[in-house]
Symmetry: C2
Subunit: 131 residues, 2 copies
Amino acid sequence: MRIGELAKATGTKAETIRYYEREGILPAADRTDSNYRDYSDEHLATLIFVRRARALGFTMAQVRELLALSDHEDKPCRDVDQLVQRQLGEVTRKIADLTSLQNELQHMLRSCQADRIGECRIVESLARPLR
Amino acid sequence: MRIGELAKATGTKAETIRYYEREGILPAADRTDSNYRDYSDEHLATLIFVRRARALGFTMAQVRELLALSDHEDKPCRDVDQLVQRQLGEVTRKIADLTSLQNELQHMLRSCQADRIGECRIVESLARPLR
DNA sequence: CTTGACCTTGTAGTTACTACAAGGTGCATA
DNA sequence: TATGCACCTTGTAGTAACTACAAGGTCAAG
């Protein structure tokens, strides 16, 4: 698939895709005879992954690390283990925070549907468990 | 509490705190006789909220919206409802993505602990449910 | 044969910070 | 009393991760 198609499929600007290639986040695509980038389904999957990971608050460096886990066949288990452990900790913390926020939003929604204004604990939803 | 104390308590640079004040994300603090910013516990809670929300991938504009829900007493339920609905959708999607990623990381960890290298589906963990 | 998608290099704007510098006040402590 | 550190202000500039142009060129479908 060509860059425009990939851009559309992932909601990413073509310029951003080229930027990811320059930054080594997305592997360079094959080229057609006319020098157009020709993306595979793996490229598509990787790009979706990158975009989601970024939307979840991971930095480019973290995305790089996560992607590196993909070819951990090369590296000894011990090395990979530490990295996975660290990422897992962060992911778990994010889920906890989001779940707390989700609960409060649902609470607000229930209050609204009952057409009464409940007290709002939205700030507390994330602020409370001070780690 | 003074800015340095607040900075330390939240892991935020003092300069960032002043920046949030300029941007209207954090309400201006009271001032001491010597013109030092004097923060309350509510400021602390709000700042923790802002930092977490940012780390979870919300933009400043979205954080502003979330904070605005705090004083929804002023506005009719219908208006708030829509906003909450929208935020809830995003939060739920983020949780789903993170849970999927968490599962894959845990799977990798189990493989590593058994000292064998499992096949890696980390990219697929986020790429699969193409919405 | 024109129109639109693609190619390149390069510059500059945006968001959300982060880091200085310069010049000044407040205040605790040696 | 002097030193030093935390704070104040305004301002400029750097960083990360894009995003948007422009200029100049190639390619291919209608």
